[in-house]
């Protein structure tokens, strides 16, 4: 289990290296999908099943789908690939940066614990993070309503930004 957590944490860092050094937005979106999936694995390994499910559904299934459509609109039809020299230099630079930071900040491999710790041993109906999120509805009710109001306002912001200031109705780009 600790090996699995090690692989997942490594995948997290490598996936974001791919996102940061992307040659084209298609590859950045693919890297984000990989990072979100691996992050869900990390959360499940430390016992947060509900938060992992929320990440999968809302982030991957909601937001990244919208980003994929936007990449289909905005990016060019013939993107440059991973083999181009500036991209490889950026990938190498980010990997060296992460390795240097790990060498400076981390300890030896035998001094640290890589595995997550699931504190609820066994199968229960009400796990820890589910109980915590339910506080959003009881004590944090005002924050929930504020968040809903902010989402409604964001809808109006988006409509206003894409309106074109009187130069036309909503039209195809």
């Amino acid at each position: 289990m600790s090996y699995l957590m090690c692989v997942l944490l490594l995948g997290l860092v490598l996936g974001l290296v791919a996102v940061a050094s992307n040659p084209s937005p298609y590859f950045a979106a693919m890297g984000l999908v990989v990072v979100a999936g691996v992050g869900c694995g990390v959360l499940v390994g430390t016992g947060g099943c509900f938060l992992s499910l929320v990440l999968f559904l809302i982030y991957l299934g909601g937001m990244l789908v919208v980003f994929a459509y936007s990449a289909a609109m905005a990016a060019e039809p013939f993107p440059e690939g991973w083999g181009s020299w500036p991209t490889l230099r950026l990938v190498g630079g980010y990997l060296v940066g992460v390795a240097v930071a790990r060498g400076l900040l981390g300890k030896n491999w035998y001094e640290e614990d890589w595995s997550g710790f699931d504190s609820i041993l066994g199968l229960t109906v009400l796990r820890g993070d589910v109980g915590g999120v339910s506080l959003m509805y009881s004590s944090g009710g005002w924050l929930l309503m504020g968040g809903g109001w902010v989402l409604l306002l964001t809808l109006f912001v988006v409509l206003e930004l894409t309106r074109g200031l009187g130069r036309g109705a909503l039209r195809a780009v």
Partner: protein, 98 residues
């Protein structure tokens, strides 16, 4: 620094570097911003899970809601840029150049 802490901290720093050194496409910068939000979500969730403070488990949910707002606003800006400049490359945003 524990490996988990190092992993999401370096993920955040990598996303920040990708956002700061954006090269050609506006959408690449927006996707690095989404990577920042994702690393923050994982960080907050791991905080509640590893320290057993389940009261703060609603924090990553609220972060996700506001990050969705921000992603929508960023994509609306991308659409507006594509309309006025006919592409979304960062070289074409040169009105403020000297």
């Amino acid at each position: 620094m524990t490996p988990t802490h190092f992993a999401f901290s370096s993920a955040f720093m990598l996303g920040l570097a990708g956002l700061a050194f954006h090269r050609t496409h506006f959408l690449s910068a927006l996707l690095c911003l989404e990577g920042l939000m994702l690393s923050l979500f994982i960080a907050l969730s791991l905080w509640t899970l590893q320290f057993n403070t389940m009261n703060s488990a609603s924090l990553p949910m609220i972060l996700l809601a506001f990050s969705a707002c921000e992603a929508g606003a960023g994509l609306a800006l991308l659409v507006a840029t594509t309309r006025t400049h006919s592409n979304s490359r960062l070289q074409s945003l040169n009105l403020l150049q000297c």
